[in-house]
Point group: C2
Chain length 277, copies 2
């Protein structure tokens, strides 16, 4: 009976998926990804307001001399995500927490989320890689040295960066779903052959990636400039040395070049490999 | 003994205040307020990504048919602020929660915050007015109609707006402190006479307020435009009808004109009235 119930749930999920996924198109996917760029640049600019605030990332020392394995940042993010989980944030498949929660979903008003993803491949995500990239690679490029004691506000802004990077990169599942539907025959044979390299090649458009990288660099310039009420608006992309901007535009370029785009494609390939499960 | 201990604490606070307040100047205050404008515009743009999502603001219905007096938004903000309080966010006097918390401040690394405010006047804030203005006046101008079910993410972006508006407006305490020190004699006699009107007049510079309002409107135009990798950057302040921007620039102008600037001056006057306590 239990197995049958699960099987039934699976069939219902699949039915919901088939009937609801008509809204997904290459246009809506591109629009979403382009809009996320603004949120990413805003969140990086906001994190860069604070100095690095190193003590927030060291292992926590308790009053009794014991040392935890976790940092203040990790504890803060765990507790904040738990509140958001309880509030139903992760009912939307677009949002994936960095830590797993088993809190009851209680107070949020009910809402019937449609699933545009193939149920058996929905779970794919690279949050562990995003977490490690953010703290070890990106944050040192973003924040100036110093310590102003605003650890909670600082780590809250880290969480904002992590959430949008996770949503953007793991949106690769939606990208892959749209591409799969657009050329079902080609993808099916590559998936059945488990040919990762060929899938990656098929998913890659260097010209399109170049457009995206130049656009996010430009967004860092425009959104990170100092605006006066009368002065001219800075528009020169050549002056991107980083000294005049709140976040170095070349860091945002690098973020997309080295991490966002490659990790998104990794998500796409993993999703496709489960697309026929 | 208890009274003496409290008295001693007061004297120590005052000593800390006198020795640490050298860092505050008209320049640092202006720089802070100008930088907050960017954060405010970013946070409004982010809230405007979501539709109004009305069910998040209605009184919560429990499963058993009972109705709470609080909305999902209020419950979410209470729980989020409690986590931030536990994480020490409100150890900085620049941050004031919307709800009072008595949670122990435990896991954040220790930090010696200096107090640049006069201890007896630190408590001044207008968070209740900000809360009411935000939900009743600003939000309806900001968010489009609709319901996408992303209640937790939506209300999380409300909290970001509320936090920066609170920090910006209640920073009036710092503005007032700097102005008081710059002309101690004039302010002292007006404070002793409890002359609110004369204080308000002394704190008002319509020319300076006009510069600020035009600048935030311009920031809404620059930060809220759509950026393409090759196209020109929109610089025309004339085209601020709102249709091409993520947040209507005239709404941001109105926010400062009708609420941010008047509420800040209200904070300044209240702070000054307690500056000699």
């Amino acid at each position: 009976m239990a197995a049958r119930a699960i099987c039934c749930t699976g069939a219902l999920l699949l039915l919901a998926f088939v009937s609801s996924s008509a809204g997904l198109s290459l246009d809506t996917v591109r629009e979403f990804l382009t809009r996320e760029e603004d949120t990413i640049v805003f969140s990086l600019i906001e994190r860069a307001r604070y100095p690095i605030n190193r003590p927030a990332y060291d292992p926590v020392h308790l009053g009794d001399g014991r040392r935890l394995n976790a940092s203040f940042a990790e504890l803060f993010i765990r507790e904040s995500e738990a509140v958001q989980s309880k509030a139903g944030r992760y009912q939307s498949l677009q949002e994936i927490p960095f830590f797993a929660y088993r809190v009851p979903f209680t107070l949020a008003p009910p809402y019937n989320f449609t699933s545009e993803l193939y149920p058996a491949a929905t779970f794919v995500n690279v949050n562990d890689a995003i977490w490690s990239m953010y703290f070890n690679e990106l944050l040192p490029l973003l924040a100036k040295t110093g310590d102003d004691g605003n650890y909670a506000a600082t780590v809250d802004s880290d969480l904002a960066c992590l959430q949008v990077l996770s949503r953007r990169i793991n949106y690769g599942r939606y990208v892959a779903e749209v591409k799969f539907r657009g050329d079902q025959q080609t993808y099916t044979s590559l998936i059945q052959a488990k040919d990762r390299d060929a899938l990656m090649k098929l998913l890659t458009s260097e010209a399109q990636e170049d457009v995206v990288k130049r656009r996010v660099e430009k967004k860092a310039i425009v959104f990170g400039q100092s605006i006066t009420s009368d002065g001219p608006i800075e528009t020169s992309v050549n002056n991107s040395s980083g000294t005049d901007f709140k976040v170095n535009p070349s860091v945002v370029y690098k973020l997309y070049d080295q991490w966002v785009i490659p990790l998104t494609k990794q998500v796409e390939v993993e999703y496709l490999l489960h697309r026929l499960d």
